[in-house]
Amino acid sequence: MIMKTQSKLIPDVERDFFCAISYRDSLGFNKAGQRTEIPTFQEKTSPCRAACPIGIDIAEAFYQASKGNFDEALRVYRQENPLPGICGRVCYHPCEMSCNRKDFDEAINIRAFERFLSDHGRVDVKEEASTSVRKEKIAVIGSGPAGLSASYHLARLGFVVTIFEAQPEPGGMLMYGIPEYRLPKAILKREIDYIRQLGVAIRTGVRVGRDISLSQIRNEYQALFVAAGAHGGVRLGVEGDKLPGVLEGITFLRNVNLGERKKVGKQVAVIGGGNTAIDCARVARRLGAEEVRIIYRRSLAEMPALTEDVASVEAEGIALELLAAPKRLISQNERVSAIECLRMELGAPDATGRRQPVPVTGSEFIIPIDTVIAAVGQVPETEFVTPLGLSLSEKGMIEITSERGTTAIEGVFAGGDSIGGKAFVADAIASGKMATLAIVCFLEGKDSERAFQAARIGAGSSFAFQRFLHPADDLSDLKQVVPFDRINTLFFRQSGRNSNHNQSTPGENVRSFEEVAMGATHAEMDDEISRCFKCGTCIDCQNCMDFCPDVSILRDVKLGLYGFDVDHCKGCGICSVACPRNIVEMVNQNENVPHR
């Protein structure tokens, strides 16, 4: 028998082979029995998002920006926050304080990022507008950040919204509290305009309780959100606090923001430690005061004002008199002429956890001044709610019956500075969002507590509005926050943070009310964007695919999701280590985790 040669055929039957030649593949070798763990692909929440009162998907925005999609990144911000231009300038940035990058080198300049997006990204209001119109009419009292935020989100859902604003201009504290050099009013006007373009009507110069009653509004509107803010000043409460030359801080700033440029004295003392006090001092400098000092009863560490604003105080030649409080005001020629202060020391913590200042006996000292500005607190002017039956707290705050902003009266909700709590812009915006959720649930007969929990971020008080609206859209786990020890820093290089620069020197700054801080340049922003870990958000780095030894990572190109070949994965866990941002994690093989 002569073995006939065949030319280059693939034999059907392997008995024709005369040496070991394999045409079959190895896909039939199942590895499931070998492993004890299996990977899961689950996007999670970044700590910045968890810390943000507004619950902005910051990591997603950074991811979009990293691809050059700045408009999309801005859109991500505006899904939760209608005022990025404001927050990008004045927010107290809790996001940066919990940024994972701070444990590697320095926190990302997230506030500058928000500002950059609002400065350079394009807003398409048509995209934000609702496709359907709801029949219900909602009334909002107050056009500060809480009221604006609620109106924006309600309008996006198709509700007809009317804001009642007592002042001639909308904006609340944004307009009347924060000076121009920190927040140019043009920016505020632009962002309010976007809200108006959504169909929100703002009736300025209408004071509820004087020009219209709350009951009237209650009859005409299906739901009501009270966000009147806290614009009442607090007296110093010492002898001489009614003397001429003693100004109240909130009123002082309001007048300046209304355009007044009256000169203040040469030697000004500002009492207080919050941003209002800082702003009063910096405004005083701009109005020609030569000697300006801030007198604060606790130490620097306890000052509520933001660190960078405290730094600008020193840069602009304002003195800080810490651990001191006024005892009495001294007058001469029927005008305040000096302030007698007492030294303080820190005692036991009070209800808020901050150490109480305790006067040091016999430590009086006198400072000659010609103007005193009291910035020691803000209270709401909320008498107008009592006819409706809403109760007020001792300090005049509207009492809410749940964390959702509900009050004792069905259909009436309250939020922002008028209910107390944290007095920051971001928190006010967050309470406006919360009110929207509560109002929608109220009108649709849904359980707002359940709705909140479903969209809740981490274990805090913020929630994702997008998740509330479209529960099935985004598949990331809002409850799991990425800790730093789950970031694989071997895939990143250390570098310094790009901080904001100032337009000019402090000496020049105090000569005008022009904006002091500059926005980041494109290069600086690109650098920050690349520094951002994008915790918990998949950026298609494909480390999982590159590092999987078992060729067991699957991909859905259209949806941008990754999965695992459960027949061939050996459960080594490399994918969970190679994923630098904690999206891939190993779970026990037998756990009933829905695999994709």
């Binding site: 394999s22 290089r493 030894p549 078992d550 999701l561 999965g563 027949d567 080594c572 866990g573 280590v577």
Partner: protein, 294 residues
């Protein structure tokens, strides 16, 4: 939802590598970069098992599993046969380990390089004879534990890439399976060059280096970031180009993460740090043009 495998892979799942194997990561990346118009040569070692048992092949390209010491000669035979047939397009790639390259296969490799045979020669260096149970090779680093150097190896690691560069081959390079883009780029560079191309790929081995199998990516990154294994290219025996700027992390981060080095002392670490620093400075000097081409 449609979850599918990446079509650019030329390695099937279902192979027999240990879980966490750093070598098969490198193999996957190499096969991905080299493309389908390729014939591979494989020798005994971990790769000899990873290819699968007859009649199942884990490769999507043809391969021939030849005798241990013959990878280079075998690859050269294929390359010459293809030329004789008029085929200058198909790439021939040898996929070997450190044992089959720096020990038993050294002669064959040196001969092929001397003749500038047109093959890409990849050495997947897991720093010992791992497939047979962790025995020492000339590529095992100093002080490392193996089954045949239970108190730690006394000799140093043979510097294969420099030896190969001394043959004046057009392209020699180091790479690491935990730097995927760098490795793929080097394979694609090699594909475009005619002659002998040698790529030495550090492949962390959880089984033999004694570390948890999920940490392979970190070990590989640390090897490079601590300067213990610089990533660079040498063209025509002289032009040095460093392809990754490491962070110069302390070598303890790398050594003490592996059980095979758990017995090293502070003195050892100081000595190794000094040696590694010196090597890095020398490499930098050569890159900046300090080498003589006379």
């Amino acid at each position: 939802m449609s979850l599918v495998h990446d079509g650019s892979n030329n390695l099937h799942p279902g192979h027999l590598a240990c879980p966490g194997c750093g070598e098969v990561i490198g193999l996957k990346l190499v096969l991905q970069a080299v493309g389908k118009k390729t014939i591979a040569v494989v020798i005994p070692g971990c790769l000899g098992i990873i290819i699968g048992p007859y009649p199942f092949s884990t490769f999507k390209i043809p391969f021939y599993h030849t005798a241990f010491e013959t990878a280079a000669a075998t690859a050269a035979g294929i390359s010459n046969a293809l030329s004789a047939k008029g085929d200058e397009e198909t790439t021939v790639i040898a996929l070997t380990g450190d044992g089959g390259t720096s020990d038993i296969g050294f002669q064959s490799l040196s001969g092929a390089a001397d003749r500038n045979e047109n093959v890409i020669y990849c050495c997947f260096d897991n720093e010992a004879y791992m497939n047979t149970g962790v025995q020492v090779s000339s590529s095992t680093p100093e002080l490392a534990w193996t089954m045949t150097t239970p108190v730690g190896k006394t000799g140093r690691k043979k510097n294969m890439v420099e030896i190969m560069a001394a043959h004046n081959i057009p392209y020699a390079a180091t790479a690491c399976s935990c730097f995927p883009d760098d490795l793929r780029t080097k394979i694609m560079t090699a594909k475009k060059i005619k002659g002998t191309k040698y790529i030495h790929i550090l492949s962390p081995c959880p089984t033999g280096w004694r570390f948890p199998e999920s940490l392979t990516p970190n070990i590989g990154r640390l090897a490079v970031e601590t300067d213990c294994f610089p990533l660079y290219e040498i063209r025509n025996g002289a032009e040095v180009k460093i392809t990754y700027e490491p962070r110069h992390l302390p070598i303890e981060n790398y050594l003490l993460a592996q059980g095979r080095f758990k017995h090293v002392t502070k003195d050892d670490i100081a000595k190794i740090t000094k040696a590694v620093d010196r090597s890095w400075k020398e490499l930098k000097r050569r890159e900046s043009g300090g080498s003589c081409t006379c």
